[in-house]
């Protein structure tokens, strides 16, 4: 493969940038159809209740109301995972969280629909509700889903290597509980769906369904619509317009997408539903609150001997991606460092809150926060530099980890050394004045899951290319651009392979009628998988053009080069593209033939031109070569597809399907912080982030993705948090959720590391998620360096920092801001909430769980310290 690229590796503007900066680009909510109605969804005010009666007659009587849709209109269950079909479009018999979908009013205007919602009479019978996963796991009756005993969605217990022997071998062992509170994507574009039925040409009844939706996964949406509406997939067309950010929040089928289609069917008219911002928070699918009980053992030289983790995730009321999330949390303990022994116990628990799902860095972030914090603690214990202990535990790639993950390209060593150098770590670490600190942490992520959600041997991505006589290259790709720039990536790859300008390439993306199947934009799979499919499709087309050009130039196909919109003979004109003068001469010579000659007739050409064409050349224009190829082969099209190789698909244990990826990205970060000990405020001054993305196809985009994910990690580290009170979200707005503004966002320096993966397109891997996780522990470690307190509960708000500083002071009175305990030693969720009702004991509790200590009648603080010193007993039984 040539290293000297013409378009790959160049910083270029996204192909759809102008549409975004001028306001001309259309997002779903910008679309209207003639006769379109507006849908509004009525939500549950109760966290857990049976619907005793639902009467919409008063609403239907209101002028302008066309239909009211209820759960019974579409009772088929669906869910993003085949093992988690537990949702219905609208509640059937029961609601499971405040904000659950009860009914949908379809009316001529939004105002009428809102008024009509108040006229729907719903009688609820409240049920006991569960808000804390530890309490929820004790439930015997009034389960959230009848088929899930103890409200446990799924639990996994994995042992790789010999964890106990590993701990026995260790010189130092640290155990601790880390809590990461719940965060959400808060993409700028609220979800929106427009659904319309075409008229069936035979019967005049509603026929094919067309849906425009803000989705990362058009093909999954098509599949779920077919399940709920009982329609064949071929009768459903899903189109993704511009999408205003996803971050995982649009990576599964969100209730409004199904509801809009059901409503359009019932109202017999196009229906658009757009969520309000508050509804977006209820739809959620964000990162679950997670309790991580972590134990790590190291040798005195810093080698990690064993890791044991017990992870409990507060999953909310539906499965969503939950089973995958809890598996990622365990699987991605591997593949970053060389860890010989791993024990993992993961519990995904149902509670009466909005469902959690996939969010940027899916499943890995909260465990990575715990792990990297604990590694810092261990480094301090054995007197080792935090950067050095990370370098001590590097993998030796290529390798297969103890839990079956295949690592081929591994840029972590360079990421660490780059951040250490750029931040002047060695010169400054430990030498900054009090209140200032440096912290380091690493993270990684998959470049797409090697096994798709729906187990099959089908390709994960397929791409078609068509070139016509006008020389225009049209690429049909299922890749869903959600702002990350996949359309641009596809155009770049095609232009690079065909040696044509980017302006020639038109990308048609994410329309299930036009584009071949691609499973969607999630798990950072698009560049790797759709990029590879694109590369193969472009190479298939190139082969045809080269063959025809070689025939025309009467040479070997191996002698033909394509670049800079030119096709030429290497042996005559050399390796580099013909210079400008030669090119213009070539253009002159060949221009007339671009008009195109079809077999048996001459369209606009002449006999004279035909004769001219027959002169043997050593160089052709791109158009000329295309015309030659069409004349020679017939239609000029190419297809490429990608399925991860069997070697990359992981081990055989239960749950082994999640975690394996054809390639992993790596990140190392150093954060510099200032901590105000009077107010507890943490200011991040700068973050140096080195990210191994294999090869940066478009450095501007890679930097944007890396900086964006570090920034999102920073939000989770310092201020973003979903605050709950008895199942009610207390901050369902951008203002209260506190997404960082320009003035709160520090400088983030992105350092691109290119390890050139052997299987990635031009060596590329993922760039959009892997850097998020490291930001949180890097900041936690920097806070420790600055003021000597270890924060084990995120976000590190001024309150928590103050409480931690206070807890450290000898003789200071403890402040109990909430029900929380010392944030350096958290035992339970901050807002405990608790179950309104529970019976029985539930499954085995971890020894360091506060509830266990409580049952033993010992004082909370003392007993938890005791249990910390015992080897981890509970969890895996």
């Amino acid at each position: 493969m040539i290293d000297n690229f013409s378009i790959i590796g160049k910083p270029i503007a996204m192909v759809d940038a102008a549409g975004k900066t001028t306001g001309a680009g259309k997002y779903t909510d910008d679309l209207t159809l003639p006769g379109m109605l507006i849908g509004k969804i009525l939500h549950s005010p109760y966290p857990h209740a049976r619907i005793k009666k639902l009467d919409a007659s008063r609403a239907l009587a209101l002028p302008g109301v066309v239909a009211v849709v209820i759960g019974e209109d579409a009772p088929n269950k669906y869910g993003i995972l085949p093992v988690g079909h537990d949702e219905t479009a609208l509640a059937v018999g029961k609601v499971r969280y405040v904000g659950d979908n009860v009914a949908c009013v379809v009316a001529e205007t939004e105002g009428i629909a809102e008024k009509a919602m108040e006229l729907i009479d719903v009688e609820y019978e409240p049920l006991p509700a569960y808000f804390d996963p530890e309490e929820s796991m004790k439930a015997e009756a009034d389960l959230i889903h009848d088929e899930k005993p103890h409200n446990i969605e799924k639990d996994y217990h994995h042992v790789f290597g010999e964890p106990d022997a590993g701990f026995a071998e260790a010189d130092e062992i640290t155990e601790g509980r880390y809590i990461a509170n719940e965060v959400t994507h808060a993409a700028m574009e609220p979800h929106s769906t427009l659904a319309s039925f075409e008229i069936d040409p035979q019967t005049g009844n509603p026929g094919r369904l067309v849906v425009w939706s803000s989705t990362q996964v058009p093909y999954y949406l098509q599949h779920k619509l077919s399940i709920v509406l009982d329609m064949p997939m071929s009768q459903i067309r899903v189109i993704k317009p511009l999408v205003g950010g996803g971050f995982g929040g649009k990576s599964e089928v969100i209730p409004l997408e199904i509801i809009a289609a059901v409503a359009a069917r019932k109202a017999k008219a196009p229906v658009k539903i757009t969520y309000t911002r508050e509804e977006v928070f209820w739809a959620h699918r964000g990162r679950p609150r997670t309790v991580v009980d972590l134990k790590t053992g190291v040798k005195r030289d810093g080698r990690i001997t064993s890791v044991a983790a017990r992870v409990v995730q507060d999953g909310g009321a539906y499965c969503s991606y939950g089973v995958v999330t809890i598996l990622y949390s365990g699987a991605l303990l591997g593949a970053l460092y060389d860890i010989p022994n791993i024990r993992y116990d993961g519990y995904r628990v149902l509670t009466n809150k909005p469902a959690c799902g996939a969010m940027r860095g899916h499943g890995t972030v909260n465990v990575r926060f715990a792990f990297e914090s604990q590694l810092d603690e261990l480094a301090a214990k054995i007197g080792m530099d935090p950067a050095a202990i990370r370098e001590r535990n590097l993998l030796k790639a290529p390798t297969i980890t103890v839990n079956g993950l295949r690592v081929q390209s591994y840029g972590l060593p360079e990421c660490i050394s780059q951040t250490v150098t750029r931040s002047k770590w060695r010169e400054r670490k430990g030498k900054l004045p009090r209140g200032r600190g440096l912290g380091i942490a690493c993270s990684h992520y998959v470049s797409g899951a090697a096994n798709s959600i729906i187990r099959s041997d089908m390709p994960h991505s397929t791409v078609n290319i068509k070139i016509d006589r006008d020389g225009g290259v049209v690429v049909y790709t299922g890749a869903s651009d959600i702002g990350q720039g996949s359309d641009t990536m596809v155009a770049q790859i095609v232009a690079e392979v065909l040696g044509c300008t980017l302006a020639r390439v038109k990308v048609i993306a994410a329309d299930t009628d036009l584009t071949p199947i691609d499973i969607g934009s999630y798990s950072s799979r698009v560049t790797f998988m759709n990029g590879n499919a694109t590369l193969r499709a472009a190479e298939a087309v190139k082969k045809q053009i080269v063959e025809a050009a070689a025939r025309r130039m009467q040479c070997d196909a191996g002698d033909v080069l394509m670049r800079g919109d030119c096709v030429w003979r290497k042996s005559v004109r050399g390796e580099t593209a013909p210079d400008a003068n030669a090119k213009s001469a070539a253009m002159e010579q060949s221009a007339p033939t671009a008009s195109g000659r079809v077999e048996g007739q001459i369209l606009r050409g002449s006999v004279q031109q035909k004769r001219k064409e027959e002169i043997v050349k050593d160089q052709m224009s791109f158009e000329e070569a295309v015309v030659a190829a069409i004349d020679f082969h017939g239609a000029l099209t190419g297809t490429g597809s990608y399925a991860p190789p069997p070697e990359a698909r992981g081990g055989k244990h239960k749950g082994a399907g999640v975690g394996p990826s054809p390639a992993y990205s790596y990140s190392a970060q150093v954060a510099e912080v200032a901590v105000d000990e009077e107010t507890g405020e943490v200011t991040v001054l700068k973050i140096w982030a080195a990210h191994d993305c294999g090869r940066a196809l478009n450095p501007v985009s890679v930097e944007g993705q890396v900086i964006g994910s570090v920034w999102m990690g920073l939000g989770q580290a310092l201020q973003e948090e979903m605050v709950w009170k008895d199942g009610l979200l207390m901050n369902p707005g951008m203002l209260e959720y506190r997404s960082p503004s320009a003035t709160e966002s520090p400088e983030i320096e992105c350092i691109i590391v290119e390890s050139v993966d052997p299987e990635g397109p031009f060596g590329a891997k993922e760039a959009s998620e892997g850097s998020l996780a490291a930001a949180i522990p890097a900041i936690a470690n920097a806070i420790y360096d600055a003021v000597g307190v270890r924060l084990r509960e995120s976000p590190f708000t001024p309150e928590r920092v103050l409480a931690a500083l206070r807890a450290k002071k000898v003789g200071a009175k403890k402040i109990d801001l909430t029900e929380s305990v010392d944030p350096t030693n958290p035992q339970a969720f901050r807002e405990h909430g608790g179950a309104l009702w529970y019976r029985g004991k539930g499954p085995a509790r971890h020894a360091s769980d506060a509830a266990v200590a409580h049952h033993k009648g010992a004082a909370r603080g003392n007993s938890s310290r005791d249990s910390r010193e015992r080897p981890s007993a509970g969890g895996d039984d």
Partner: protein, 168 residues
């Protein structure tokens, strides 16, 4: 509610239309006038995606009644482009990665346009301050500062409209 007849001057053009007296300017622009560049994103006037200029001052169109804007000159993102081609700031946002998903971008375009009209040579601090009323969830803002600085440079050189797009 009974509709009233309104005349709004948007991007230099007079539009006469009927709308409810309690309609927000944002809804009038998006629904009645079909100018969908201004976005609705937060519902609590905290994100700035709907920013328009009202007689040259940036305002949130989700916090204004359409009926109260009669007689004032409204400039939306659709009115930022110059002579039918990209303004320097629009091109720079594309080239420097200032726009990812693009949903917040119209608000930023209007805000930055205003900033550079007021202060053609802002300091980094002034840029940060000016942008702090607009939220973005994709970029972390870093590349936006680069874009703003690039736009200032381009304006200085006067090459904004003649420079070739790097991707063409």
């Amino acid at each position: 509610m009974k509709k009233v007849l309104l005349t709004l001057n948007v991007n230099g053009r007079e539009h006469e239309f009927a709308c409810e007296p309690n309609a927000l300017l944002l809804d009038a622009l998006r629904v009645d006038l079909g100018l969908t560049g201004s976005k609705r994103a937060c519902d609590d006037s905290s994100c700035g995606a709907c920013t328009v200029l009202l007689d040259g001052t940036p305002m949130l169109s989700c916090a204004l009644l359409a009926a109260s804007c009669e007689g004032q000159k409204i400039t939306t993102v659709e009115g930022i482009a110059e002579h039918g081609s990209l303004a320097a700031i629009q091109k720079a946002y594309g080239d420097w990665g200032g726009a990812q998903c693009g949903f917040c971008t119209p608000g930023f375009m209007v805000t930055v346009h205003w900033l550079l009209e007021q202060n053609p040579n802002p300091t980094e601090e002034e840029i940060r301050h000016a942008l702090s009323g607009n939220l973005c969830r994709c970029t972390g803002y870093t590349q936006m500062y680069q874009a703003v600085k690039a736009a200032i440079e381009a304006e200085k050189k006067g090459i904004a409209h003649t420079a070739e797009r790097t991707d063409a």
